[in-house]
Symmetry: C2
Subunit: 340 residues, 2 copies
DNA sequence: CCACTATATGTTATCGATAACATGGTCAAT
DNA sequence: ATTGACCATGTTATCGATAACATATAGTGG
């Protein structure tokens, strides 16, 4: 094999093809003025040498790294994964590539992550959630690149937004349950310190309960986010132990809700006849579960698509104002809350 | 705000702190010989200017980008997510950062992804699976960096391995089902074109059935991978329609298995009394489901940790030979196959 | 036939950091 | 006082590409 010692550069390819390295550079970027035959000869020379383009050098030189930095709370979550898919698909074959990191639902860790990601000189940055540490916010504002917040509808966004109101999602569920005759409604979520989106849904629950003149004291905290299925089950057991007359429960996610449903099955509690249960996120699980679980669909994939489209717009026209898109989450009524 | 026009560089920080830019560089890399007070003064100057380190330039200059490229079939899969978590945790606070991409279970797309990732000059690359296109294999061999394959036990690995035998996982389940008296065992998986690991499990099933002298013709294909819960349910319905005397089903994943379980519930088929069902992956769902689903735990998180440790070893001693680690998957017997 | 435009290619400086080597100062041992 | 070791810092060249500008050749309209 040739070039085993040190990988060949554009200059090597240029020599091999008998052109200047600038011409090789042109051969590699679409839309450059270059003769078709010359390009083919260059690509052939590159293949012969086993040349691999170096984005690191290109990024330094052109000041366009092709990275879009993205932070999500957890990589192990179908909802955020869907948003990332939407974003990746939306970036399509623009030359942009997602650079992903996760924060473990922790704002301090988000700040550290943002700091690290910014050293890679991304051309835009996408954050899950609209709450950040002060220092993080400052970093974002000064980064000089498009900033997009998703999965939230912040009152004071840093830049663009592709989000929805978590509080409204919580409130929707309360209204639905009240309409179907429930009054003693509990909320099952993570502890009060971390998952700001889950907390927003809880705030929506509290406000909607108050608006209906109902007591909203049935709060169970299932530990640090994300709340697992098992933790959902345990928290459900704790809830009915403490407030046996509960007639409905809103869970912070469909996973917790599924755990709650299985716990009810174990305890001999009929769902939805004795207790209605609903979740959040429109996970496939909620649809397949028996009974199927009422949930709210935040349109995760679309959030990603919209985020991508905002970013592409801002990059093509840097003078454009930030774009704010707020989607309306969709209530999906299923067997776990509605007696057929 | 200062430095709004153009972000400050090390040279700017150096000027502000009254030192040379080389000294600033030293202030930013742990283990460099530098006076503690000088370092503090430099950091302070950097903060004043809002300086952000540029890894792009550092990577070009030092030829160490700090990236570990990782390919997984799908970002929306708890198993692969766990492996990535293990890897990230394992890299810990080494200066290495994961650069993730997904292949959508497609070897052609894997090749394209690898090509793209290599342009970022990663210091190592991790691949899910041991099967690749010829061109992809060539790229990997010539990349001149540690290559690690995971989630498989390839006969002819490119470099290092942190894997397990998918065929053995399939065979384990067959043996377990035979031990509990089942003979008419089906396999429910994706179509035969894409998910090579799922296909390996199917091969294991076929071989084990043959070894037991049993017919292994009850194969249902549920479409392209990944097989969803819903597709698992549909495939289960098709299976019992076609072969009503089936007494056990091995599903390509726990998600498909859960779908199959719910379908049985709908059809009034008792699990495990009439049909035993098992999955793969040790998803939380399999544990919480009622009945709990028998599965095989491939130790996803550990695979990631081991991969990280192999990589760190190879990077610290480039002359070291590749490391091969093969874990034994663990059978987890649950209610879906065992009559208590 | 001339100026004029478009296309294809080359030349030079530069992006922001680090490697490798050079240097000056301090301190202990002889 | 001299030598040598060591620590802290500076100087210069370089990593591999691209921006910006320069140049050459071919075709076009008046």
């Amino acid at each position: 094999m040739r070039g085993e010692r040190k990988s060949p550069t554009m200059a090597d390819v240029a020599r091999e093809a008998g052109v200047s390295s600038m011409t090789v550079s042109r051969a590699y970027r679409p839309g450059s003025p270059i003769n078709a035959e010359t390009r083919e000869a260059i690509i052939a020379a590159a293949e012969r040498l086993g040349y691999v383009f170096d984005s690191t050098a290109a990024g330094l030189s052109s000041r366009r790294t092709g990275f879009v930095a993205v932070t999500i709370p957890s990589i192990n979550n179908a909802n955020f994964a869907d948003t990332v898919r939407g974003l990746t698909d939306g970036l399509g074959d623009s030359r942009l590539q997602v650079l992903l990191g996760y924060t473990n639902y922790d704002l301090e860790q988000e700040e550290r992550l943002v700091r690290q990601l910014l050293t890679r000189r991304p051309e835009a940055i996408v954050l899950t959630g609209g709450r950040h540490t002060d220092a993080c916010r400052r970093l974002l504002v000064h980064a000089g690149i498009p900033v997009l917040e998703t999965w939230d509808a912040p009152a004071d966004p840093v830049g663009s937004v592709a989000g929805f109101s978590n509080a409204e999602a919580g409130a929707m569920l309360v209204r639905h349950l009240v309409e179907t005759g429930r009054r003693r409604i509990g909320f099952l979520g993570g502890d009060a310190t971390r998952d700001t989106r889950g907390l927003d849904r809880r705030r929506g629950y509290l406000a909607a309960m108050a608006a209906q003149g109902l007591g909203a004291h049935r709060l169970v905290e299932a530990g640090p986010p994300p709340v697992s299925m098992r933790e959902g089950a345990e928290a459900m057991a704790a809830l009915v132990r403490r407030w046996p007359d509960t007639d409905a429960v809103i869970c912070v996610s469909d996973l917790a809700a599924f755990g709650a449903v299985t716990e009810c099955q174990r305890l001999g509690i009929a769902v939805p006849e004795q207790i209605a249960i609903c979740g959040f996120g429109a996970y496939e699980l909620a649809e397949v579960s028996i009974p199927a679980i009422t949930t709210v669909d935040p349109h995760c994939y679309d959030l990603g698509r919209i985020a991508a489209s905002h970013i592409l717009g801002l990059l093509s026209d840097p003078s454009a104002a930030p774009s704010i898109t707020t989607l309306q989450p969709t209530l999906m009524i299923r067997a776990s809350t509605s007696v057929a």
